[in-house]
């Protein structure tokens, strides 16, 4: 795969030096929060701040976090790869001129007051784009949080926290969805490689970011929140190119007439019909999430687990009710359950009491101890008719959740078949974290791992139908 080294967007993700125009030493200001995130690192960002140089720019001078503040961009001694603009909208055009004079080609425009805010803002945005084009400069934003890259700890946002490092790269049209995902990522062990809040998309749009993610070796799964594409056909073409290499999950909001109306007032952009988005997403082979929870669950599964490479998965449970719910949801979603062979059933007979249900979901009964549960799991892993496994564990006195979690993780290492899990009703305990930390998406209700597995099945079907695996 090509590296991102020579990618046109390289400076947005891998700059060696960043200037913050509108940097501030006053806590509570956006320009302070950005400096703090860049220099000290945001909450949850292990290992401190950005690896490269940071140049605060503010006419009042002084120092911010022990960094000398420059009164203008042109006084910065070295080269500047990326400018982060956080000044009021009225000064932005002037700042762009100064950036151009310094030879800066990549600009993150955090400032709001552009096309999202009436005709004056719209005109200002048009002029900014015109200026950028004439200088060969690219703009991310305006009205955005900018970029987080967890590998070099670049963080141009004024968000309070940063997500943990991991294989997912995210792009969002909504800044609020960004911060919500960051919060969630820390609870649910979702790791991110890159994070982009794309704002008004006056220049760079989803298609550009996807193209970069396609080439970024850290990115294993691309997740998108969008309300409208700037150019639908271009978005589709870029998806079509990346999906053979990496799975893409899209939460395209504004599906309904009511939602679309809310979106158009939010972004002021022309949206294609939802039928067209649906067709484009399906045809490109991406996966559509309908809710935030689906966006999280699909992304986690696709980033951490291999695809389902056959027609049939198994549900293993020590709990009857949750297994029935899981089976219903699998049916609703069109996720096929394996018909267990006589051989597999014979093997399970040998380790289960005769009252087990002899079917799939495999209910090993509530009194199952660790030995029984793991023996059956091992049989299912080895069954050729099983291509993915959902492990459901209802908490019992006879089986320790920590022990069974460790056993599931250990056995999952013996196969390329994907795993999703539910420790039913268990929220925020060490055992749950153990599964997540080891790449097995675990959710507290049984329907969610089924949906996550469906995403892995969809991915497998895509690859198999196109002969890609």
């Amino acid at each position: 795969m090509d590296g991102p080294g020579d990618h046109p967007l390289r400076d947005f993700f891998q700059p060696e030096s960043v200037a913050v125009i509108g940097a501030s030493s006053k806590p509570g200001k956006v320009g302070y929060a950005i400096m703090s995130n860049l220099v000290l690192g945001a909450e949850g960002q292990l290992g401190g701040g950005f690896h490269g140089k940071v140049y605060p720019v503010n006419p009042s001078g002084g120092e911010i976090f022990r960094h000398r503040t420059f009164s203008s961009i042109k006084q910065i001694p070295g080269r500047v790869d990326l400018a982060v603009i956080a000044v009021p909208a009225a000064s932005v055009l002037e700042v762009l001129d100064e950036c151009a004079a310094k030879g800066i080609k990549a600009v993150v425009m955090i400032s709001s007051g552009f096309s999202e805010s009436g005709p004056d803002g719209k005109e200002r945005e048009r002029l900014a784009v015109e200026k950028a084009r004439s200088h060969g400069m690219r703009i991310l934003g305006p009205n955005c949080l900018g970029v987080i890259n967890t590998s070099n700890r670049l963080n141009t946002t004024f968000a309070k926290k940063a997500p943990p490092r991991g294989p997912i790269s995210f792009v969002s049209q909504s800044g609020a969805i960004c911060t919500a995902v960051i919060e969630y990522s820390q609870e649910e062990y979702m790791g991110f490689a890159n994070f982009v809040s794309i704002g008004n998309k006056c220049d760079l749009d989803d298609a550009d970011i996807i193209d970069y993610y396609a080439r970024d070796p850290e990115t294993k799964c691309i997740s998108i929140y969008m309300e409208s594409a700037k150019n639908g056909r271009r978005f589709y073409e870029s998806l079509k190119k990346v999906v053979p290499k990496k799975p893409v999950v899209i939460l395209k909001a504004g599906r309904t007439a009511t939602g679309a109306k809310a979106a158009s007032s939010h972004t002021g952009a022309l949206a294609g019909s939802d039928i067209a988005y649906t067709a484009a997403i399906q045809e490109a082979g991406a996966i559509r999430a309908r809710t935030m929870l689906e966006l999280f669950d699909f992304s986690r599964a696709l980033a951490y687990q291999p695809p389902v490479m056959g027609d049939g998965i198994a549900i293993l449970s020590n709990a009857g009710g949750p297994a029935v719910i899981a089976a219903d949801v699998a049916f609703d979603l069109g996720l096929p359950l394996s018909d267990l062979s006589d051989e597999t059933i014979g093997k399970i007979d040998r380790v289960c009491p005769p009252t087990w249900n002899h079917g799939n979901p495999v209910d090993v009964i509530g009194d199952a101890d660790l030995a029984r549960y793991t023996a059956v799991l091992d049989i299912l892993i080895k069954a050729p008719e099983v291509h993915g496994i959902i492990t459901i564990v209802g908490p019992q006195a006879v089986m320790d959740l920590g022990e069974v979690s460790r056993a599931i993780v250990e056995l999952s290492g013996t196969t390329t078949k994907p795993f999703c899990a539910s420790l039913v009703g268990v929220v925020s305990r060490a055992s749950e974290g153990y599964l997540d930390e080891h790449g097995i998406p675990e959710m507290e209700v049984p329907e969610r791992p089924v949906r996550a597995m469906k995403a892995l099945y969809h991915r497998g079907l895509y690859l198999r139908r196109r002969g890609l695996r």
Binding site: G232, G272, A276, E283
Partner: protein, 243 residues
């Protein structure tokens, strides 16, 4: 069946343009669809009562009669469709009635004649093409008749499509069991549907003057799949679909 003839399609489109028309009449639309490589049922264009009778005799009773006019958008609304005509007496009467009905309901409409068409029975499918302002040319496939009107049992893709896209479009239809011959419906040859979808996709992509087309119904019969009715609309010259 007619072999596809792209030159013919362009000539028909140019002819309509020369007359300043954005909609093709039924005869032109049939020739365009056929020119894209979609099999059509048997039909002849008849310019007079006498020609209609002769055409009906050649095609074999019962026949269908449809008005052929570039000014008629909805044929049934002007009394422009008569089905299941069993003999020459009925064909003659239908011709007279159709002419007077169209003259009365749409005075001044240019009438090229009537189409005399074999009476085809089977399962109705629909293929349609349209243009989305953001995504450009799109192709629709689904169950026709009541299924499309009430259940909206259709699937969309962006043009151009590949063979497996066409296969997936069929898979996405809720009524697909009917295509596989459920409850005595004629079994549809999926490969033939896929071929037809690919031809329409390719033709729609290539002939950029076409803004929208409908094949409704595309009929699954015991003898194979044929298009029975067609509509073709040309875009504003030079404007058309964004992609």
């Amino acid at each position: 069946m007619n072999e596809p003839d792209p030159v013919d399609v362009d000539r028909i489109i140019r002819g309509a343009r020369a007359e300043g028309r954005g909609m093709l009449d039924l005869w032109e639309a049939r020739n365009v669809i056929s020119g894209l490589g979609v099999p059509m049922d048997h039909a002849e264009l008849a310019g007079s009562r006498e020609e209609a009778l002769k055409a009906a005799a050649r095609i074999g009773y019962p026949v269908v009669m449809k008005i052929v006019s570039p000014d008629v958008v909805h044929k049934t609304e002007v009394g422009g469709v008569k089905i299941n005509l069993p003999d020459n007496r009925e064909v003659g009467a239908a011709f007279d009635a159709m002419m007077s009905s169209v003259r009365q309901k749409l005075p001044g409409a240019r009438v090229k004649g009537v189409l005399i068409e074999e009476m085809v029975r089977g399962t109705e499918l629909i293929i349609g093409s349209s243009c989305d302002p953001q995504f450009g040319r799109m192709l629709m496939f689904g169950m026709g008749g009541v299924f499309v009107e009430v259940y909206k049992d259709v699937s969309f893709r962006l043009v151009p499509i590949a063979a497996f896209d066409a296969g997936e479009m069929i898979e996405e239809i809720r009524g697909k069991a009917i295509l596989d011959g459920a409850r005595g419906y004629p079994k549809a040859d999926r490969e033939q549907i896929i071929r037809i979808l690919l031809k329409v996709s390719e033709g729609f992509r290539k002939h950029t003057d076409i803004e929208a087309l409908d094949i409704n119904p595309l009929m699954v019969t015991e003898r194979g799949i044929v298009a029975v009715d067609a509509r073709v609309i040309l875009g504003d010259a030079g404007k058309g679909c964004p992609v």
